[in-house]
């Protein structure tokens, strides 16, 4: 009778694959946490390159604003166009502005901006730092006794924390205006009726939460992207892998954090 070896089974092979995925997951998580510690250490000591921070903030704003405004504006138009007519029919015309603004402030503007910023900024940060890593530029920095965490990471991550809320505020305003215009054009809802209900339904607390969430998203996207780039290895393929990792991890992270915010503040 043939002996049974677990190592020859399909289940064992599946376990091996899962083990590999788990190892990669935990390694990446560890790298992100270690990098977060290094960055915070410098921020707490106020060891920040101000010139580089200003440059990174400008870069963040200029690169992300057009695509963020486009995406948030279009999604607001999509929602308002479909909802306004129905709400007016059901006698809820006075609540269209409230609905659109609540949706934008609590959820849509932040998450859509987050997605846009992952595409525009996250992928760019990861590929830039990964290229510097595989072409020895980061090693050159270390030999010159310049701290790469202070010079590269701290300004990029701080720019995420500072600029993402500003981008989200502008995108939210743009989205509300887009919603008002599309409700007016598609269903004849007056601007006055729309904006009256915006003030009626929107709380200051919602705005604070939105701004805080945006800062957390900006921090997380920049941290994950820079870390993915920093641990890249192996030439062009390494740069590609780092960029993919930054995008995938940032996506999952911001959706997860969004869920935590929803549970924490609105459950």
């Amino acid at each position: 009778m043939e002996r049974f070896y677990f190592k020859n089974t399909f289940s064992y092979k599946i376990l091996l694959v899962l083990q590999e995925y788990l190892t990669v997951f935990l390694t990446t998580l560890g790298q992100i946490v270690i990098m977060m510690g290094r960055v915070f250490k410098r921020i707490i000591k106020l060891d920040v390159d101000i010139k580089e921070l200003i440059y990174q903030c400008a870069r963040f704003g200029v690169s992300s604003l057009p695509i963020t405004l486009s995406i948030v504006g279009m999604s607001s138009i999509i929602v308002a166009t479909q909802v306004a007519g129905e709400m007016i029919k059901q006698g809820g015309g006075n609540y269209v502005g409230m609905f659109v603004s609540l949706l934008l402030v609590r959820e849509e503007a932040v998450i859509m901006s987050g997605f846009a910023i992952i595409y525009m900024i996250g992928s760019s940060l990861a590929s830039e730092i990964a290229t510097m890593k595989v072409t020895d530029q980061i090693n050159a920095m270390r030999v010159l006794k310049v701290d790469p965490i202070r010079y590269l990471f701290v300004p990029r991550i701080l720019s995420g924390i500072i600029m993402m809320p500003l981008v989200v505020i502008v995108a939210t305003l743009f989205g509300i205006i887009g919603g008002a215009v599309s409700s007016n054009l598609s269903s004849g809802l007056s601007y006055r009726a729309f904006f009256d209900s915006v003030w009626f339904g929107l709380y200051v607390r919602d705005m604070y939460i939105s701004i805080f969430k945006a800062a957390v998203f900006g921090f997380v996207i920049a941290l994950i992207s820079c870390t993915a780039g920093y641990y890249a290895s192996g030439g062009a393929k390494g740069v590609g892998d780092a960029t993919t990792k930054a995008v995938v991890w940032s996506f999952i992270a911001i959706v997860f954090i969004d869920m935590i915010f929803a549970i924490a503040f609105f459950f």
Binding site: D136, Q137, N139, V143, L144
Partner: protein, 239 residues
């Protein structure tokens, strides 16, 4: 006393890449480290520069260390001026010591030393391979280092650019009196720059002497290296 390396050992994945090597380089002297690809030459430079940490052994150095990387490793988002002045502007102990006028003077001086005046505003992508290499020389010496490490400085360059780079290595030695190590596998670089040579194979030193002694082919290792022969004690894919 420039560089002293004693009983250096470095392992990767339980394999000794550097296996108990010792050597020294005096101020104003150039040591060439030669050997086939994968013999541990670049690892020695990374250990001396502090990019890697040894498993055992001792590295004693005096003063600042500068390194010229194989593919220059210039910061491609910065222009030549910012590349060369980078350490003076960003290094903790040097920050704020230099005014803009000082920086302009130092960068001009270093560019003149490598024969490249007036290219301060150019970006690395606008320069040829040889020019990038010379800018990386200028960047390396901006902090007046006492030790300069060159990782395959002539790799990928045409013969004339290689000769030019070799001349600058010798010139920098004379100007700075630094202890220098040149990792290379090119005979021309060894002959034109080195005062002494060590040959690595499987992480061990299999030859130590002068460039003239290397060329005399007195050992099976030097004979195989100088003749670029496949027959000999050194196997490219040794187990």
């Amino acid at each position: 006393m420039g560089i002293q390396v004693k009983n250096l050992v470095k392992e990767f994945d339980n394999k000794k890449v550097i296996d108990d090597i010792s050597f020294s380089v005096n101020d104003g002297e150039i040591l060439a480290i030669v050997g086939f690809s994968g013999s541990g030459k670049s690892t020695v430079l990374k250990l001396i520069s502090g990019l890697l940490t040894q498993d055992s052994g001792e590295i004693i150095t005096t003063g600042d260390i500068a390194m010229v990387f194989q593919y220059s490793a210039l910061f491609d988002s910065l222009n030549v001026f910012d590349n060369i002045s980078f350490a003076l502007v960003e290094r903790k102990d040097l920050r704020k010591k230099y005014t803009q006028t000082d920086l302009e003077r130092v960068v001009k001086e270093k560019l003149e030393l490598v024969g490249l005046s007036g290219i301060e505003d150019k970006f690395p992508s606008e320069l040829s391979g040889g020019m990038q290499k010379r800018v990386s020389f200028a960047r390396a010496i901006v902090t007046e280092p006492q030790i300069i490490l060159y990782d395959e400085p002539t790799a990928g360059l045409d013969p004339i650019s290689s000769t030019l780079i070799e001349d600058y290595i010798v010139r920098l030695k004379k100007e700075t009196n630094a202890a220098s190590i040149v990792v290379t596998h090119q005979m021309s670089t060894i002959k034109r720059t080195a005062d002494k040579v060590i040959m690595l194979y499987n992480g061990k030193i299999v030859f130590a002497g002068t460039p003239e002694e290397l060329q005399r082919e007195e050992t099976p290792y030097t004979k195989q290296f100088v003749n670029a022969s496949l027959d000999g004690p050194m196997k490219m894919f040794a187990e």
